[in-house]
């Protein structure tokens, strides 16, 4: 068994709440969800920046794009470092169809990120900063809707 998917292994044990009843597949589902959020946020930032670059340096879209990219960074930081080795098992990076997301607006992408964030167990010790991420995503979605992008 790969150590990364073995619930008794220290690597995965670090990312499971001590004493929780959570199983390894449930934990992996959280990481897959976060990974999908991260990719969608990255794509949303690129979409916003592409429009901002057309509008010029004073466009309010630059601030929105940076905010979305920082949220993407927050999501990356929530993912455990040892998942780099577990990528093939968890199939991270394969959840999002890049050709399909290319055609979507930032509002659509952020809406999906917000929906993905709803079941996140933000009360867990290792996802304690997830609540800030959820709030940021809601603010960014509101801003993107207002700027119609």
């Amino acid at each position: 068994m790969n150590p990364s998917t073995d619930p008794t292994s220290p690597a995965l044990g670090q990312v499971l709440e001590h004493g929780s009843d959570e199983t390894a597949p449930e934990a992996n589902e959280v990481w897959r969800r976060l990974d999908s959020m991260s990719q969608l946020l990255h794509q949303a930032a690129k979409t916003v920046w592409a429009r901002a670059d057309e509008d010029g340096p004073t466009s309010p879209l630059h601030s929105l794009g940076l905010g979305i990219y920082l949220a993407h960074g927050q999501t990356q930081l929530l993912l455990p470092e040892d998942l780099l080795d577990a990528e093939s098992d968890l199939e991270l990076g394969l959840e999002v169809d890049v050709d399909e997301v290319d055609a979507r607006t930032a509002v659509q992408l952020l809406t999906e990120v917000e929906e993905l964030s709803r079941p996140l167990p933000v009360w867990r010790a290792d996802l304690i900063h997830g609540s800030q991420l959820v709030i940021d995503v809601c603010d960014l979605l509101r801003e993107a809707q207002h700027l119609d992008c």
Partner: protein, 524 residues
């Protein structure tokens, strides 16, 4: 209490050149006592004390019998940290100050508790993590006061009241924490009583503190009740009266943007010096682009303000400045877009860089944004913090060339890799746009479809590598021009800068030249 770490003093121009001068500067830079702590905590002492008070209240809201042991174990360290902060607060000139006595009693009392820990329950072990957080915050506040407290001058009533407020907050935190300890101990006693009853053992009820608090818990309850009483007597007039003279930062904090930009400048340099991550480079470039974009807004707002209040400024200077700021914004954005092709899906940015960038963005939004979009310039022009924000922003633009230099060095490093799909798009787009020279042999597949399909990281194709280096050079040049324009504009248009804060006009030097100059400097 609002004592903030002051900015480092500039080296006096009268300091003689040579080894002695360098030694003096190094002593200040590397003296362990002169650097209070380096946890990235930028709160003031007043904010830390308010946090400890808040944590104590939260602790009281959420304690039960299971927490009793941890609270007892954490109490001696908490009192020690509070007493050290207390002792560090500037004195008002009297050798024996009456407000010291309650704290001295608490320290002596906590020492006896510490001595008794090993003799039975609860024993040595981990303290409650909330008490540990309070202790660490008090230690950080004490460290700040020891470092910067001696620089506080004056003996006015306002200062005395602020110091008294700091003592009252500290004592109130201990008072509430002691009460939380008592509550937890009572609960612990009741738990033990209930367990004994369930096990069929008879327990005689106590008549002292609570019917359910029996030995040995009763001893601990008595000790915490004593500590609570000592702290309570100090606060006999009430906390509100005790903190009546507390200095609080104004709700409209005009120093937030300068502070955020100073923090950003330091953190960006630190991150680029110690890490090699394309995600960091994207954040640095995009944040610099945001600074350039906001500087255009602020220059425009400043022109509105000047037109409304005094005579019009020099239009040609403003035009040169806005033109160079516009160019530097575009250059940073172009560079960021190219760096964004490189990070792997699992590339993690530096968390401190992330926070510094977020603080810059948030600070600017207070000045320039309605809830979701930017204010028009005439609205920004009415903001009292405009001038400080503009000066700090132009100073940040002036330091842009150094960051651009570092990123240019990173762009020319061999072995850069990026996401296959993004690099393929970039190579074809650059060739189509005439930004890169097409391969003379015809249409070349720059990235293999197999790599794209497998989402591999691949080496930068030649058009992408040369495009990244070209964008870096353009950014360095644009930053140099913007830096020169801001210096000229500042000296002509801003009386505050021209009068005493004007940075020396500088020409942009390549890093290699600066390094050479450093190597020639005397070093002891």
């Amino acid at each position: 209490m609002t004592a903030e770490p002051p900015p480092p003093s500039p080296v006096s121009a009268s300091v003689p050149a040579g080894g002695a001068a360098f030694a003096a500067v190094e002593a200040e830079l590397f003296d362990a006592d002169a650097v209070p702590f380096a946890t990235g905590d930028i709160r003031t002492v007043g904010e830390m004390l308010a946090d400890v008070d808040h944590q104590a209240r939260l602790l009281l809201l959420d304690v039960d019998g299971d927490h009793a042991g941890g609270l007892v174990r954490g109490w001696p360290a908490l009192v020690t940290a509070a007493s050290e902060l207390w002792a560090a607060l500037p004195r008002t000139g009297y050798a024996d100050e009456p407000h010291d006595r309650p704290m001295e009693r608490l320290v002596a009392h906590a020492a006896t508790i510490d001595n008794s820990l090993s003799s039975g329950w609860p024993g040595r072990g981990d303290p409650d993590h909330r008490v540990t957080h309070m202790t660490e915050t008090l230690q950080a506040a004490g460290s700040l006061v020891r470092r910067y407290g001696p620089e506080i001058s004056g003996h006015g009533a306002a200062l005395r009241q602020d110091l008294q407020a700091a003592r009252s907050r500290t004592m109130h935190s201990l008072y509430v924490a002691a009460h939380a300890g008592s509550v937890a101990l009572h609960s612990h006693g009741y738990d033990r009583y209930r367990e004994a009853r369930q096990a069929g053992r008879k327990v005689s009820l106590s008549t002292v503190h609570s019917p359910y608090v029996v030995a040995p818990t009763a001893t601990w309850v008595g000790r915490f009740a004593t500590a609570e009483a000592i702290a309570g007597r100090y606060l006999a007039g009430g906390l509100i009266a005790g903190v009546a003279g507390e200095v609080r930062p104004p709700a409209d904090d005009h120093s937030r943007i300068p502070r955020a930009l100073a923090g950003w400048d330091i953190q960006a340099h630190r991150t680029l010096a110690t890490r090699s991550s394309a995600a960091d480079n994207v954040i640095v470039s995009r944040t610099q682009a945001l600074i350039a974009g906001v500087s255009l807004l602020l220059v425009d707002a400043d022109a509105h303000h000047r037109a409304a209040t005094t005579s019009a400024g020099d239009d040609s200077t403003k035009e040169r400045l806005t033109s160079s700021l516009d160019a530097v914004g575009r250059a940073w954005n172009n560079l960021a877009s190219r760096w964004d092709d490189l990070p792997a899906p699992t590339d993690r940015p530096d968390s401190k860089l992330l926070r510094a960038s977020a603080e810059v963005r948030a600070a600017y939004r207070e000045l320039t944004h309605d809830a979701t979009t930017t204010f028009p310039p005439h609205v920004i022009a009415q903001h009292p913090g405009l001038e400080r924000a503009l000066n700090a922003t132009l100073a940040a633009v002036e330091s842009g060339p150094e960051l651009a230099d570092v990123l240019a060095e990173k762009a020319s490093q061999p072995g850069l890799v990026g996401r296959a799909r993004a690099l393929s798009h970039r190579a074809h787009n650059d060739i189509e746009a005439g930004l890169a020279t097409p391969d003379p042999t015809g249409d070349v597949v720059w990235v293999s479809p197999a790599d794209i399909h497998a989402r591999r990281l691949v080496a930068l194709p030649e058009p992408v590598a040369s495009g990244l280096e070209r964008a870096s050079r353009e950014c360095v040049a644009a930053c140099g021009r913007a830096s020169a324009s801001t210096v000229t504009s500042s000296s002509r248009s801003h009386p505050t800068i021209a009068a005493g804060m004007e940075p020396p006009p500088r020409t942009h030097e390549p890093m290699a030249a600066k390094d050479g100059a450093r190597r020639q400097a005397p070093h002891h």
